[in-house]
């Protein structure tokens, strides 16, 4: 339904971001502000995702400025809209570096756009933290790019292990969004199923944004699989699960979805369907850590909603990490780069401590959450913390 919040968010989306302007542009102390770049899809097909990410980044910057900024200097967030387009992403990061002189990036964009922008950023020796871009290619080969979410393949790997180990699934159907993120998750799922002696009885690739799955689900229903593993953006996952529910595929088969199940589209659109659906998540707002609960309260106060989406939570966290690196290493690209490299035991928003590997990838415990209609959220089932499950390094071999 169209709420006042949605209306205000929409109006907000038009203002600063569309114009490439900044949040909190000047420093009260007279010192120049510390400029951080943000880019993401704020208009177009994926604007919901980008807007959530922007809220997360802005919230972290606002909180930092409320306590005096960093070293007495305010922090500015220079916001750019990449429209979910690869060429536009390259163009806006160049502009942010050359015209705005940002000293680091908080990459609030999709895998497909981050992959295009990352080499340009890295070549300019500007550090970047990719907040929710899961494809290996975003970080691999770009030595100034760090990631604060999981490698896509790891999510799929955890998904397969949970389905076989905890749910006893043997036969699977797979739905794969045909781009970097979806293919990465599918790679993890398929290799996990193969290792655990399961069988993929059905696999379907589809283009991003797809909403019509009934024909595919009709085939899946006839196969009576134990579990369905899906990798897609939130709107597609929601449509897939709902339609599977209508056709009686779920809950007979266990539905597993990727981290984008906590996009706003799921919360808004899943309705009465989806009970018991399982998601593998990098951020879960029902984590038992008091820090998580306190954050959710602050978020609710700021944005008048109890939902903290996947992109909002991860981008908030990535910005917090970046700000911490500025504090530790100083407000220069080289200083931030060094500090990010040295990051050890940083407590993330789900209350887990995370360190970077030599590949600039975090060994990130993943939450396995289950949708509860009554709670209208994902209940935490467990954190996958076993390094054999969550280490991103083995997955690099599949991406030359």
């Amino acid at each position: 339904m169209i709420t006042r919040r949605a209306l205000l968010q929409g109006l907000g989306a038009l203002s600063l971001a569309d114009l490439g302007l900044v949040l909190l542009p000047s420093a009260a102390s007279g010192q120049a502000a510390i400029k951080l770049g943000f880019f993401g899809p704020l208009t177009g097909r994926f604007s919901g995702v980008g807007t959530e990410a922007r809220h997360g980044a802005e919230f972290a910057v606002r909180e930092a400025n409320e306590v005096g900024g960093i070293g007495g200097r305010k922090v500015e967030l220079v916001v750019y809209d990449d429209r979910g387009d690869r060429k536009e992403a390259v163009s806006v990061v160049r502009k942010a570096m050359e015209a705005d002189r940002v000293i680091a990036f908080n990459g609030g964009s999709l895998s497909l756009t981050s992959i295009a922008a990352a080499p340009v950023i890295s070549e300019a020796k500007i550090p970047m933290v990719a907040a929710y871009s899961n494809a290996v290619g975003v970080v691999k080969g770009n030595d100034h790019v760090f990631r604060w979410c999981s490698v896509a393949d790891v999510q799929g790997w955890v998904m397969a292990h949970h389905a076989v180990g905890k749910k006893g699934a043997k036969t699977f159907a797979m739905f794969v969004q045909d781009e970097e993120y979806g293919r990465g998750i599918a790679n993890g799922v398929e290799r996990g199923i193969s290792k655990l002696d399961g069988t993929v009885a059905y696999k379907k690739l589809f283009s991003p944004g797809e909403k019509e799955f009934r024909a595919f689900l009709t085939e899946v229903k006839a196969l009576s699989v134990d579990a369905v593993c899906a990798s897609a953006f939130g709107g597609s996952l929601t449509a897939l699960c709902r339609q599977g529910w209508d056709l009686g595929v779920f809950p007979k088969a266990q539905f597993y979805g990727s981290c984008t199940m906590t996009e706003i589209d799921w919360f808004e659109g899943i309705g009465a369907a989806g009970e018991g659906a399982i998601a593998v998540l990098e951020f879960i707002q029902t984590a038992p850590d008091p820090g998580t609960a306190a954050f959710v309260q602050r978020w609710q106060k700021a944005y008048n909603t109890s939902i903290v989406s996947h992109q909002a939570g991860l981008t908030y966290d990535a910005t917090r990490l970046l700000l911490d690196a500025v504090k530790r290493g100083g407000p220069t690209p080289a200083g931030i780069q060094g500090a990010l490299h040295d990051t050890k035991n940083f407590k993330n928003l789900s209350g887990m401590t995370v360190s970077f590997t030599e590949l600039r990838e975090p060994v990130l415990p993943l939450a396995v959450g289950q949708w509860e209609g009554k709670l209208k959220n994902f209940k935490l089932l467990e954190f996958a913390t076993d390094p054999a499950l969550i280490d991103p390094r083995p997955w690099y071999q599949y991406y030359k």
Partner: protein, 289 residues
């Protein structure tokens, strides 16, 4: 499930999808037939119709009222667009109107995002019943879509064939100058076509909204490409041709996407059909030589 049941279920799925495409294609074909303008912004009417339907449903909790209201209001908007945007451009080359139409569509999408936000909004009208018939699973929403589409077809046919206004529309579509000399108000008739076409697009938008429980600013993107393909495939302004093309596309894309491993998007399939048809039958399915 037996193979026959699976196949029947697939045909049902395809007919639902094709019916929605038909609702878009018919309005576009009517407008093209009378003005020879590719009305890209028709996809915007479809999205606006869905939003209006949702807004009215939220306030009235009556689906019938929301659907009717959305059709009427979108129809009025369509009429206004004809009057304000297209009519002044009709003396210029058609490319001018085409460019204006593209611009208008982008503006409408952005307007929806600005006013209602970038996220999907649920459009849940509580049609949750699912029926089992001879092994088939038929969702209540499918009944609404198939029944509603059939009703629209019948009503439109009666309107065009049995009323004076319908006669006027057919006359203007054949020869506007001759129609004018016969005393038909051509401007009013063209505006009426925009009203009817936009109202039918709104019907399609509302149906898609309830089918996927989602209304979002860019929902017209896919439709804009597909609608154009459909009027070309159907035969440049042929209503029956467009409807047949829509159903054929629904069936074609369902079968191709389900039974092949080619990750072609639905728009891709529509465009492929378009290219093949242009090569084989340039005048479209039911177009004249």
């Amino acid at each position: 499930m037996t193979t026959t049941i699976v196949l029947l279920q697939q045909i049902l799925n395809a007919l639902t999808v094709g019916s929605i495409y038909a609702m878009i294609a018919i309005g576009l074909a009517m407008i093209y037939g009378i003005l020879r303008v590719l009305h890209i912004a028709h996809a915007g009417m479809y999205a606006v119709g869905a939003y209006l339907g949702l807004l009215l449903y939220v306030h009235t909790r009556s689906f019938a009222l929301a659907l009717t209201g959305a059709m009427v209001l979108t129809g009025i908007l369509g009429g206004l667009i004809e009057r304000i945007v297209y009519r002044p451009m009709l003396t210029r080359p058609r490319i001018v109107a085409l460019i204006a139409s593209i611009g208008l569509y982008i503006c409408l999408s952005d307007l929806l995002r600005i006013v209602a936000g970038p996220h999907e909004h649920a459009f849940d009208v509580g049609i949750t019943a699912t029926y089992r018939l001879l092994g088939l699973t038929i969702a209540g929403v499918d009944f609404v879509i198939l029944g509603g589409t059939s009703a629209i077809f019948v009503l439109l046919w009666l309107f065009l064939q049995r009323t004076r206004m319908g006669f006027a529309i057919r006359a203007v579509a054949q020869d506007p100058e001759a129609a004018r000399t016969m005393g038909i108000d051509v401007d009013r008739t063209v505006q009426l076509v925009f009203f009817v076409g936009s109202a039918i697009a709104a019907f399609g938008g509302v149906m898609v909204g309830i089918l996927y429980n989602a209304v979002y600013p860019t929902m017209g993107d896919t439709v804009s490409y597909k609608g154009l393909a459909l009027i070309v495939i159907g035969g440049f302004g042929s209503l029956v041709g467009s409807a047949v093309a829509a159903l054929a596309l629904g069936i074609g894309e369902t079968l191709i996407m389900t039974y092949t491993q080619v990750p072609l998007s639905r728009e891709g399939i529509a465009m492929l059909m378009l290219i093949i048809l242009i090569l084989v039958r340039p005048q479209g399915l039911l177009g004249r030589d």
